[in-house]
Symmetry: C2
């Protein structure tokens, strides 16, 4: 009865490529059992795990971040609904943050459509760059992605 799912089956059910699933296992996002012959054996819970991975990627999380999130799940036993609920809640908070960033970007852009500047002196979308210039180094950082020592100040323009 408890035969488990072959990788091809999992691929079919999730829409993922077989190679992607193997890759995720290599990356430690999930662990598959093995048949005596060495073939991977997945459980239903792994489908859930893969669902989570796919959704998280949609949201823009990297593999490394997803791995971290998944570490919040129990190792030995199959995660319960409550386990997933905990992880989803953290997730939701992040999603809210992302939406907020985009909305602020949109609002700023609205201001810029009004003035047509996009980069003129008084533009709020522009200011962060001036600040970036003053901070000196760093590759690219503009909104919310400020380097370590610039946190807490990367918000709205100073006026």
């Amino acid at each position: 009865m408890k035969r488990g799912l072959a990788i091809g089956e999992v691929a079919g059910r999730t829409g993922l490529a077989v190679s992607a699933i193997r890759y995720y296992e290599d990356e430690g996002l999930l662990t598959a059992g093995r048949t005596p012959a060495g073939q991977r054996q997945f459980e239903k819970a792994d489908l859930r795990r893969l669902s989570f991975i796919m959704i998280a990627q949609k949201m823009g999380f990297s593999i490394a971040q997803i791995r971290t999130q998944l570490e919040g799940l129990p190792k030995g036993r199959t995660p319960t609904a409550a386990d997933w609920r905990g992880i989803s809640t953290r997730f939701r908070a992040d999603l809210d943050r992302r939406i907020a960033v985009l909305e602020r970007l949109r609002d700023d852009l609205d201001g810029c459509i009004g003035c047509g500047c996009l980069s003129l002196e008084s533009c709020r979308l522009n200011n962060p760059q001036d600040r970036a210039a003053r901070l000196g180094a760093g590759p690219r950082y503009l909104m919310g992605d400020a380097p370590e020592d610039a946190r807490g100040d990367a918000g709205a323009g100073e006026g």
Copy 2:
């Protein structure tokens, strides 16, 4: 007077790396003049252009997409406020679309936090995968990223 800006100066003002600016030029996102000695000479308008590029990247546009957007700007002359306004408007529409996608994701996730499933039979976040499985091929597609022939059907769950 009209000396133009050296690449290092532009880098300092935008917060971009010199190498990144050169890369953007290679990619055709902007064009720099040259001094007799072959050094790049930028104009103020290029700062605006780079602002646009940075903002667009924040929004998740690829270089190729940004290039396309920028092709909407006049070639010969310096873009006017109106030129930027046109481009920004298109931009805003895309931004709205992205926000909407994330919001739907959030709403679906809310439903899942309620039931704690994230991947159980009735979950709306899960269903798209089932559909994906039925559609057969393709690498990863889950929400809105449906392959060509699956468009128009990849929306909300059926029940």
